[in-house]
């Protein structure tokens, strides 16, 4: 499952849990206009840490806060890439 698919599926799950209806999930969607409030986004970030094993906000102390869904997905794609590179690097040293 790609990072993008994982993020989108978790967005839908959090919205369903909180009985929120989502607009079409396009990249330009402003997160705070999606029907998810900051609590829902916090839950989303916590769940993604469990499914993807990354929390891009905490891993970089200089991360900009995402405004759109596209920003949010890219944040996770970059963090997952960085982690993949790190784990490959670790493997090569074994």
């Amino acid at each position: 499952m790609s990072v993008r698919t994982a993020v989108i599926s978790e967005v839908r799950q959090v919205a369903a849990d909180q009985k929120k209806t989502l607009p079409p999930l396009i990249d330009d969607l402003v997160l705070l206009d999606s029907g998810l409030d900051s609590l829902a986004i916090a839950v989303l970030v916590a769940r993604l840490e469990e499914t993807l094993g990354v929390d891009p906000f905490t891993e970089s102390s200089d991360a900009a806060y995402p405004v759109t869904l596209g920003d949010f997905i890219r944040l996770y794609e970059r963090a997952a890439d960085a982690q993949g590179v790190a784990s490959q690097h670790a493997d090569s040293r074994v």
Partner: protein
């Protein structure tokens, strides 16, 4: 700054500048008011005298209307109870009883309180006819989220509430305040009083106003000073409208300000001074840190100044003229100790020449500025028939500071198909009984939980 006698007297006695006549002073979501009208008009249809000496619940849904009522009634009422918008009807009854409320000021017509006198407050201010009566020292009562038994009622005076406010030096540039806080909470009330005493205009946020809309209103008024919790600020930075304001001063309080949010604000608003303040409803404003780093310098402890700061057994304690006077009702005990220190309940740890905040001693979780007591959530989870016991703890969140996480022990280990369905069912039970911020964000099934010596669940700050 010497405490003003009353807010009204302060506004009436200060010289009104020509600019104050021109520009509105308080801006609400749907209206505004200038200084002269605020100093002399009435938002209560001229009925303030009927509230003289009474214990008044200020229960307006619109914080702008509440602000007008607070100014008109300070020095008139014996006691003003600042009702927060999230106070449910059950707890409201408890507050009315504890504070011996005998009058309600509200902006709706529903009377479910059963209190004899009810006066309507309106954001539309008219000319007052009757002269002001004798003034008294009004008690200001703030509600803090307490245990399941309801909020605690914390008594302040105008003098304790304004003790941290400094007079601006002559010739200082104009200030326009904004705060993401509701002005009925301590953090918001501090900004409201700073605006009134400094005669700075203030853009009051609406009860359920979206961050983007409020930021747009702040931009329209060219806001210079903005306060909020770290969670308010994280939400603001996720709004496209964050780019439309250019504040000179940014203040964070009410939650632990971590390094990522301080860094993000510094890079987003390079011209602003970013400061984080330690303040609580009970202990008042403690101190402000503006070196851009999380935690606070160890040199603040035992330094001389208006506030005595002490760390005892890892707990931060404060003593100053800014602390609250007492709790109202049954929990009157335990605000300050014999030496006048208020225990903040915040656990700090010294590393090198700095102290860092670790969390709350009693395990309270701060979700975006709202307090959560683990016991209440554990009780909800334990109602599920498959659950033997549970422990609720905070987990760090880069968005709301903390979130609720639950470790759950089942009577029998979950089968392969049961793991997900039990989690769903437990969440469902929680959602039916608890406010949204109290529902666990994550649930983990564990084989056992540690018990402390007294047989209680082991909790860590």
């Amino acid at each position: 700054m010497n405490a003003p006698q009353t807010l009204r007297a302060w506004l009436r006695n200060t010289q009104i500048r020509e600019s104050d006549r021109q520009e509105p002073f308080l801006w609400g979501p749907s209206g505004s008011i200038g200084l002269p009208r605020l100093a002399h008009g009435t938002c209560l249809g001229g009925r303030a005298r009927a509230l003289a000496g009474r214990s008044v619940l200020v229960a307006a849904a619109d914080p702008f209307a509440a602000a007008l009522a607070l100014i008109e009634l300070d020095g008139v009422a014996r006691r003003l109870i600042l009702c927060t918008p999230d106070l449910g009807s059950t707890h409201r009854r408890g507050v009315i009883e504890k504070a011996a409320v005998d009058a309600v000021v509200s902006d709706d017509d529903q009377d479910e309180d059963g209190v004899g006198l009810r006066i309507r407050v309106s954001a539309h201010v008219t000319d007052a006819v009757d002269p002001p009566g004798a003034s008294r020292d009004t008690e200001w009562v703030l509600l803090t989220s307490g245990t399941t038994s309801g909020p605690k009622l914390v008594v302040h005076t105008l003098s304790s509430l304004t003790a941290a406010i400094r007079r601006a030096p002559a010739g200082a540039p104009d200030v326009v305040w904004g705060t993401f806080y509701d002005i009925r909470r301590y953090g918001g009330l501090q900004i409201f009083l700073r605006a009134v005493l400094g005669r700075h205009s203030l853009v009051v946020s609406g009860a359920r106003e979206a961050a983007g809309r409020y930021l747009a209103r702040l931009a329209e008024r060219r806001v210079t000073h903005v306060s909020g919790t770290p969670s308010h600020w994280r939400r603001a930075l996720m709004s496209p409208e964050a780019r439309t304001i250019e504040p000179r001063y940014i203040r964070l309080s009410g939650e632990i300000a971590d390094q990522p949010i301080l860094n993000a604000l510094r890079s987003f608003y390079p011209k602003a001074r970013v400061a984080h303040a330690f303040a609580s409803t009970e202990a008042g404003v403690g101190f402000e840190v503006d070196d851009g780093l999380e935690g606070f310098p160890a040199s603040l402890v035992s330094a001389s100044g208006d506030v005595a700061i002490d760390v005892n057994d890892g707990l931060l304690r404060l003593r100053s003229a800014r602390t609250a006077i007492a709790y109202l009702g049954e929990d009157r005990t335990g605000l300050a100790d014999a030496d006048g220190f208020v225990d903040t309940g915040d656990v700090v740890e010294r590393r090198g020449d700095r102290y860092y905040f670790l969390g709350r001693r009693n395990g309270t979780i701060n979700v975006g500025g709202l307090k959560v007591y683990p016991e209440e959530i554990e009780a909800a989870i334990n109602r599920h028939p498959a659950v033997r016991m549970s422990r609720v703890r905070g987990r760090a969140s880069p968005i709301t500071g903390s979130l609720v996480a639950a470790d759950v022990v089942l009577h029998a280990p979950p089968g392969p198909d049961e793991d997900a369905s039990f989690k769903r069912e437990i969440l469902q039970v929680c959602r039916e009984q608890l406010a949204g911020h109290k529902v666990p964000a994550t649930i983990r099934f564990v084989p056992s939980l540690d018990l402390a010596a007294a047989g209680k669940l082991a909790r860590h700050a």
